[in-house]
């Protein structure tokens, strides 16, 4: 599942890069910083990341998730620190849904 989540997030990055000049393209790498001191996303970029990730999780993994609830927002800097931390968080959410 983790590999599927990673591939899904890479396609999210492809989407976001269409909005950015080539020199500001995000790397398709789990170490890519998203927010925080070395983060590459401004607030609009984060909004797009959230919305596109929710859409693609539902479309590509078949399970809807919510990234704007209190739980996510209260730890926004941790969840969206890197692409890898976001992948881990989505993995956790999907695991919880599966476990009921």
């Amino acid at each position: 599942m983790h590999e599927k989540i990673t591939q899904m997030l890479f396609s999210v990055i492809d989407e976001l890069n269409q909005l950015r000049p080539p020199e500001e393209h995000l790397q398709k790498d789990l170490e890519t910083p998203l927010t925080g001191d070395f983060g590459r996303l401004d607030s609009a970029g984060l909004i797009n990341l959230i919305v596109v990730t929710e859409q693609q999780t539902a479309e590509k993994l078949g399970i809807p998730i919510l990234l704007t609830d209190d739980r996510t927002m209260s730890q926004v800097n941790q969840v969206f620190h890197t692409l890898g931390t976001l992948a881990d968080y989505i993995h956790l959410l999907l695991q919880e849904k599966r476990d009921g």
Partner: protein, 560 residues
């Protein structure tokens, strides 16, 4: 394609940052620098022409608003308060005036029409009732807006519904709205950005003018050389046959809009022509094609030969062929020819053709509508040429008549179109909107003439422009533009006669033309070089004594 970066001002009451991102970072020509006007203040932005965003005459402005933000009475309707429709439309009139006023400060303005999110229809079946339904009201507002904006030739109302339809369920995103005040999903912005860029390409003179099609499995199903014309899949009660008919009808509609059609096909010419002539379901007739190359030679060479025959450059052509190999070969050898990816499934041919974004034109003139006929008559001229002994005899027998007119509202649209899309015989390659061209021509030191050309075979329409700028007893020929369809018939000399005759009447001492090179206008340089010694070259200028007469060619009849 030119490397220039064009400026685009975005004015909106909602967050257009995503749209700006797509417009600025789309790799397709032309490059656009986006300037975002102060957020959420569309009316104030339209009113204040001294704002930084309006400085230096932006090339494009996109004014994209929600109806409730600029039409306050519509906002009341959203709260289901009672407001008379007439009152709402009056506010649309006032808003339209603002847009028309703003358009004087930009070259082109695009106004996506108003839409409501599809979930907003509380009254259900009453939604289309006049004075009750919101959708009904928005439609009337859009129609009123479009009618009001007709008076400004550089404003174009864009079809937002097309983008919403393509975006599907993600067209509206409440989440994007609440998180970022972004009204639409990104698919809508992507489609809008593509349309804006396509429109700008058309306005800059890069609209495609010619569709070159293959025959077998493209215009009809089957290989005519193998199965015979009687057994082609075309029409009848067959889903594929109907799709080929629709594809031909789509091509015919393009032709009726002024896009030329031509054939490049590997076939026996006689067999293919027989199929076109005899198959009872053929929508396209031989007369619909401006030319063809039907043989067994390399298609790249055939495309080049055809372009030469039609006097068009490769940047004018679209190449449609069912064979991926032929498409790849043309794409690689002739990168300026547009070779769209073509579906394997013929059922998708009509929709694929009709969704191409390369035929955008800022206006549609009578010359456009008559273009295919003009190429047909051109063939007759060329046939005559083969029967005479000299160029002079041919020109004399053509009985060419030229009508010279100053710029006026009736010929402004066509003159602007010619100015913006002529590449080869173009001295300075200026690109201007109708308003800019009229303003320039009305200046007291400027003079601009248009030339209409006809002969015994027909009317080629308004095909020439020449303009002068007078300064300190010198006259500069600023524009020298001639459509490729009448090149080489001494219309060029008639244009020079027009300008020089006027300069002499003013007692001008020197007349000169400054050649500004582009990648495509060498024919213009060659023409001025051929004028020696009547014009002397000095650097990038061609000069002559303004007092010396320049004669109108013998075989040209100037008509009032």
């Amino acid at each position: 394609m030119d490397k220039q970066q064009y400026t685009c001002v975005l004015v909106s009451d909602f967050n257009l940052q995503n749209f700006a991102g797509y417009v600025a970072n789309d790799p397709e020509f032309p490059a656009i620098k986006v300037i975002t006007a102060p957020f959420g203040q569309p009316v104030s932005t339209l009113l204040h022409k001294d704002l930084p965003c309006w400085q230096n005459t932006p090339d494009v402005a996109v004014i994209w608003t929600r109806p409730q933000s600029v039409i306050s009475d519509f906002n009341a309707l959203l709260r289901y308060e009672q407001v008379a429709l007439q009152q709402v439309l009056q506010q649309v009139d006032e808003y339209s005036s603002l847009l028309v006023n703003m358009s004087e400060g930009v070259r082109y303005a695009f106004v996506p029409f108003w839409v409501l999110p599809s979930y907003r229809s509380v009254f259900g079946v009453l939604d289309m009732k006049t004075e009750i339904g919101l959708t009904n009201t928005v439609m009337r507002m859009n129609l009123r807006l479009a009618e009001n904006l007709e008076e400004a030739s550089n404003i174009y109302v864009l079809n937002t519904h097309k983008w919403i339809e393509r975006a599907g369920i993600h067209a509206f995103s409440p989440k994007l709205w609440y998180l970022g005040k972004i009204v639409f999903g990104n698919e809508v912005f992507k489609e809008a950005a593509r349309d804006v860029k396509a429109a700008l390409r058309g306005m800059l003179g890069y609209a495609r003018k010619l569709i070159i099609v293959d025959l077998d499995d493209t215009l009809w199903g089957g290989i005519v050389g193998d199965v015979g014309w009687e057994n082609l899949v075309l029409g009848g009660h067959h889903h594929l046959g109907e799709a080929y008919i629709d594809f031909q009808q789509a091509l015919k509609s393009m032709k009726n809009r002024g896009i030329l059609l031509a054939i490049v096909s590997k076939n026996e010419e006689q067999v293919a022509i027989e199929a076109i002539r005899k198959h009872p379901e053929m929508v396209l007739k031989l007369d619909d094609f401006a030319g063809w190359r039907i043989n067994w030679q390399d298609k790249v060479q055939n495309v080049l030969d055809l372009m030469t025959e039609l006097n068009l450059g490769p940047q004018s052509a679209v190449f449609i062929d069912d064979s991926p190999g032929e498409r790849a070969r043309v794409k690689e050898s002739l990168p300026e020819v547009f070779v769209p990816d073509w579906p394997k499934d013929p059922l998708l041919y009509p929709a694929t053709l009709l969704s191409l974004r390369c035929f955008e034109m800022p206006s549609l003139s009578q010359e456009d509508l008559d273009r295919a006929t003009m190429y047909f008559t051109e063939n007759k001229r060329q046939e005559l040429k083969k029967t005479v002994r000299s160029l002079e005899e041919w020109l004399t027998r053509l009985a060419i008549r030229v009508q010279v007119e100053e710029l006026h509202p009736a010929n402004l649209q066509r003159a602007t179109q010619l100015l913006n899309k002529t590449n080869q015989m173009n001295l300075s390659t200026r690109r201007m909107s109708e308003a800019e061209l009229m303003t320039w021509a009305e200046h007291k030191h400027h003079k601009l003439w248009t030339l209409r050309v006809s002969d015994k075979f027909g009317d080629a329409g308004l095909t020439g422009i020449v303009s002068l700028e007078i300064q300190d007893r010198k006259a500069q020929i600023v524009d020298f533009i001639l459509s490729c369809r009448v090149l080489g018939r001494k219309i060029e000399e008639t244009m020079l006669f027009t300008a020089i005759h006027h300069a002499r009447a003013l007692g001008i001492e020197d007349v000169y033309a400054r050649y500004i090179p582009t990648s495509k206008n060498k024919p213009c340089l060659d023409f001025f070089n051929s004028l020696a010694p009547r014009f002397q070259q000095k650097g990038d200028c061609f000069m002559r004594d303004g007092k010396e007469p320049f004669l109108v060619p013998e075989h040209i009849e100037l008509v009032p």
